[in-house]
């Protein structure tokens, strides 16, 4: 743990390096402000000693009013420098925060799905938000005051040593005790901060999940149970923060306590020397004042201690995420390919999401350019997994996947994915306009967007929206019907003009007649593209060039519809399973509701 913090510290400091000059300037301002602070009592002293006590004649600038104005000028100048300093440091701090935030965001974007699947959204969000913010507190509140404090402490120690070395040593000998207490509490405080931040992440995640699933919670009247979950989490957080308050309540009065202890010690030690006449009372008294001055910055540092700890724990959390760098996806590594031909081959591919729970077992097939290949099979057979592998979202453990004859791992991921448009089973829409949801960030002009919308028959409903393609889509498309969302996601795939189109249950929520229309349109679009289709409504895939039938992670049959039907194997069974009821509508007429309850209406 300790090494984590010290390396975090080092890395935090290294972030400052590009701003060294500005930081030096800010530090210089701090010195100026401190200098002004010293000048003020001196002006007062001149007024009291020279004018009011010794009645020196006043003339020109050496006069009471001039001193007053000088005093004012000094305060204004100090104020000016302190404003400049605060803004300067804030600028540096914000720049560093911006850099960190972007790096965190970039890391999150490039983390492999394998990692993201297992990580809670909340813990990732808090790293980009609250943790970065905790560091920002370090800059705005602590950094420069720490510098000023250190400067003051050194000055006072110097002054004390100059006057009387032994008294100075006596005055300083208790202070280590204070730092010892802080040091002893350090681990506890730090552990607690780690807990607090973990909990904030979990609260964040809990909210993220429950706010997006609120409709479900409400339909199932699970509010009470969810509230209990939230209260539990929030209560745990409360307990941890109370512990932090308790620790702070110990730390904050510590400097007052030690100040008193130091003075008591001074008096006790001084008493002997005064008795032996080796010390003047005046010196002893002066020392008590120094002790007071000494403890003012010390208490500042102690007060800031928890802010610093909190920032370090946040820094650890941020760097822990940034340390994922080696596992991040490198979109640009590998062989550049402009346009895929669309030749996809699986050779004895084995794949498991975890360890050895094989989801795909020696899967082999070969899709030729321009072919339409359908994957069918019972749910959980591994169809979606296959297309995830084609997009290189995951890497197969055994066997080979070749795209255009090249091992998939050797192809530049960016080119590969740009060439493959996937309509995912779980549609995701962004809170952007309809148009941008189709084009994403790519340069696709509105005509092409309109064309894509037309092809996918999304235009039918988009035209009814008041804003047309500029109509904003609400979060996850919550104001659209499920089928409409799917049509948009379809349009997105078409608009990107891919070499390979992958449709994973792309029409599952779409009515049959619209689906039929889309299919015709797709046939035109897909004429010279490789198309991979997954569908449970087998009517959709009858026309595929080839059908790969999957069961339990294995390919059990391949062939076109006719040949598979002739085989009378698993596929035929599935087709009949779907149609048996369809072909005999009177099979079990109304038997389902045999007990016809008395109509209560």
């Amino acid at each position: 743990m300790k090494s984590a913090t010290s390396s975090s510290l080092r890395r935090l400091l290294s972030l400052n390096r590009p701003h060294a000059k500005k930081i030096a300037l800010a530090a210089f301002f701090v010195l100026l402000v401190n200098g002004a602070l010293l000048l003020q009592p001196y002006i007062l002293k001149v007024v009291i000693d020279d004018f009011l006590t010794q009645h020196v004649a006043q003339q020109g600038l050496y006069s009471l009013p001039a001193m007053g104005i000088l005093y004012f000028a000094v305060v204004v100048a100090a104020g000016f420098f302190s404003v400049a300093q605060v803004n300067l440091v804030n600028q540096i701090g914000q720049k560093i925060m911006r850099g960190l935030r972007t790096r965190v965001f970039r890391t999150i974007q490039l983390l492999p799905l394998k990692y993201l699947d297992r990580t809670s959204t909340g813990s990732l969000i808090t790293r980009a938000t609250n943790d970065v913010e905790a560091l920002s507190d370090l800059y705005t509140d602590v950094l420069m005051s720490l510098f000023a404090d250190a400067f003051l402490i050194l000055g006072i120690i110097g002054a004390m040593l100059l006057i009387d070395v032994r008294l100075a040593l006596v005055s300083l000998c208790v202070t280590p005790g204070m730092f010892a207490v802080i040091f002893l509490l350090r681990t506890k405080i730090k552990k607690n901060f780690q807990r607090v931040k973990r909990l904030i992440g979990r609260i964040n995640g809990f909210l993220a999940e429950n706010l997006s699933g609120m409709k479900l919670v409400q339909s199932f009247c699970a509010e009470k149970e969810k509230k209990a979950g939230f209260t539990g989490l929030n209560g745990e957080y409360f307990k941890s923060t109370l512990f932090q308050v308790r620790m702070n309540s110990v730390l904050r009065p510590l400097s007052d306590v030690f100040q008193n202890l130091t003075v008591a010690l001074l008096l006790w030690y001084g008493m002997g020397r005064i008795g032996a006449s080796t010390l003047e009372i005046g010196v002893l008294y002066a020392f008590t004042t120094y002790v007071k001055q000494f403890f003012s910055p010390v208490s500042d540092i102690a007060d800031n201690y928890t802010t610093i700890q909190s920032a370090f724990v946040s820094a650890d959390r941020i760097f822990e995420l940034l340390d994922q760098a080696p596992t991040l996806e490198d979109l640009d590594a590998g062989l550049p390919l402009d346009r895929l031909r669309g030749d996809i081959e699986f050779r004895h591919v084995w794949f498991a999401y975890n360890d050895e729970d094989w989801v795909l077992k020696h899967v082999s097939f070969h899709v030729l350019p321009g072919e339409t290949v359908a994957f069918v099979g019972e749910t959980g057979a591994g169809k979606t997994t296959i297309i995830s592998l084609v997009s290189a979202f995951y890497a197969a453990q055994k066997g080979e996947i070749l795209v255009d004859g090249i091992p998939i791992g050797d192809i530049r991921k960016r080119d590969l994915r740009r060439n493959i448009s996937v309509v995912l089973q779980d549609v995701f829409l962004f809170s952007e306009t309809i148009g941008r949801n189709v084009s994403l960030n790519d340069e696709i002009d509105s005509e092409e967007i309109e064309d894509a919308l037309k092809t996918s028959y999304a235009k039918v409903f988009v035209d009814f929206l008041p804003g047309g393609i500029d109509e904003p889509v609400m979060e996850r498309g919550s104001t659209l019907s499920a089928g409409q969302r799917q049509l948009l996601s379809f349009a997105r795939a078409i608009a990107h003009d891919p070499a390979v189109i992958v449709l994973d249950e792309a029409t599952a929520n779409i009515d049959t007649s619209t689906e039929g229309l889309i299919q015709k349109a797709i046939e035109n679009v897909a004429r010279d593209r490789t198309t991979l289709v997954i569908a449970h409504r087998l009517s959709t895939i009858r026309k595929a060039d080839r059908i790969v039938v999957m069961r339990d992670g294995e390919v059990v049959e391949t062939g076109d519809h006719e040949s598979l039907m002739d085989r009378n194997g698993y596929y035929a069974e599935m087709v009949q399973g779907g149609e048996s009821v369809g072909e005999n509508p009177d099979d079990s007429p109304e038997s389902s509701s045999g007990t016809r309850g008395a109509a209560a209406l």
């Binding site: 914000q94 409400q218 699970a222 309540s249 979109l331 790519d442 979060e475 007649s513």
Partner: protein, 571 residues
Amino acid sequence: MGRRFLLRFLKLHWFGYAVGVAFMFLASWIQTLFPRILGDTVDILKTAGFAPAGVYTQIGYLLGVAAATFGTTYVWRNLVIGGARRLECDLREALFDHFQVLSPSFYSRRKTGDLIAYAINDINAVRMMLGPATSQAINGVAVILFTVVAMARASDWRLTLLALLPLPFIVAFMLVVGRVVKKRFKRVQKTFATISDRVNENISGIRVIKAYAQEDEEVRRFERLNDRMVEANLAMVRVSSLLSPVIEACFTVSFVLNLILGGGRVLAGQITLGDFVAFNGYLVLLLKPVISIGQVINVVQRGMASLSRLDEILDVAPDVVDGGPVAAFPAHAGIAVRDLSFAYPGADREALSGIDLTIPAGRTLGIVGRTGSGKSTLVQLLMKMYNVEDGRILFGGTDLNDFRLDALRRGFGLVPQDNFLFSATVEENIRCFQGGYTPEQVAQAARDACIYDSLMALPDGLGTMLGERGVNLSGGQKQRISIARALIRDPEVLVLDDALSAVDTVTEGEILANLRRVRAGRTTLIIAHRISAVQEADEIVVLDAGRIVERGTHAELLAKGGPYREICDLQ
């Protein structure tokens, strides 16, 4: 609303706060003992041949002050600052309560990540206002009052007035700057919420971003947002950094006036040098708390900004509320829908128009129709996710609006079109966190949904933790867990909204057969695109553009040769 919450909280916890503030004063008072003890000690030491015992007593006092300072500070900090922590958590829970009663129409306007920021960041700013800032303010005000009184007593009232001369200016300045700080802090918080939201959305949509290789552009877009955040922060600090120095400068005016005028009066012999020095000392004493109040204003304005942001949410009244007192869903009741029309809030097109339906108790209704024809909308209205006029929907003769919301919704078991699963165990998801189900019931529900075997094949069986939204499951597995979740409630009305879209035909057949068995004699609504799912229903309605265009049994509709027939022919 936020303010009302604060008042209620203070009323509830006033005693702790009062004790805390008392200890705060006690701590300040104890600290003022220190100079006196020191002075006494010096006096003792001054006398030649002093007795050490006297000094020891004084040292003892000093140690006593140390202990008392520690004790009192420890107590007030725990009470006051700890109290603010309690407030933070209570407020968050109140907000969560509020979130839970807000209706879907609210959630389709607001964004998740944004709302999270309210619950964490804004509440935090409110806490800062009520904890550290309040105690600093109380301390500061106490010191100022104490000093001013002492000052007026010890010196000329004219000088005292002089010292207070800049105060009105300082107050005016604080008010003006405070308002600007508030406005700018609001912008900071808003930008922060946008960032939180963007991160949230980009994590949820990561599969699309990766599939279309949009990472670089997304990072670039994020950077623009980030720039806004930096800009907002800098703009705020530009103003807030002025507070303390300007206050100090204003205050220096009294200082300088005292220096010149007071000095003049010393020279003229009107006051003694001692008076002058003492007065100066008081001014120095005043300076620190006045400046600290500048910092307090800063924090308070931020807190107020966040409080008013929180009010934007807390003041939203839920659209849909308990309609009446009926607390139980009628057993074995039929459903009647009478001339129901509905448009979503803000939409100019009706999603449903003139729907008339009668579902006798225990029957099965099938609903088919084009995408966007209003099928899901109908279900949402039956469950009163949106408001429905009186007399439009009746359950067993009781109007929908006469039910308590929970009673109404407990009557339903819904399999929604998008299968939302929580990142909890499979078993918790099936129970939907409700108690009172035996493990056998959970297993049976899973069996009825034809998912039991797949679930048992998972590493920890029913105890397997799911990823967020169930990422580690296949689409069909998610959908069937969602079916099991509805079945286990054994609801009066079961609603399957396109709930078999992601399962294969064989499994679909099995699930339908199970449904016929367990739902025998119970009301069931099945929305589907595949005819196979609805053909056995007692009645099938075909929706188009929000209207019922056809109704009848499968056989009747086939014979009719209308839109239903068309759909069948396509499959």
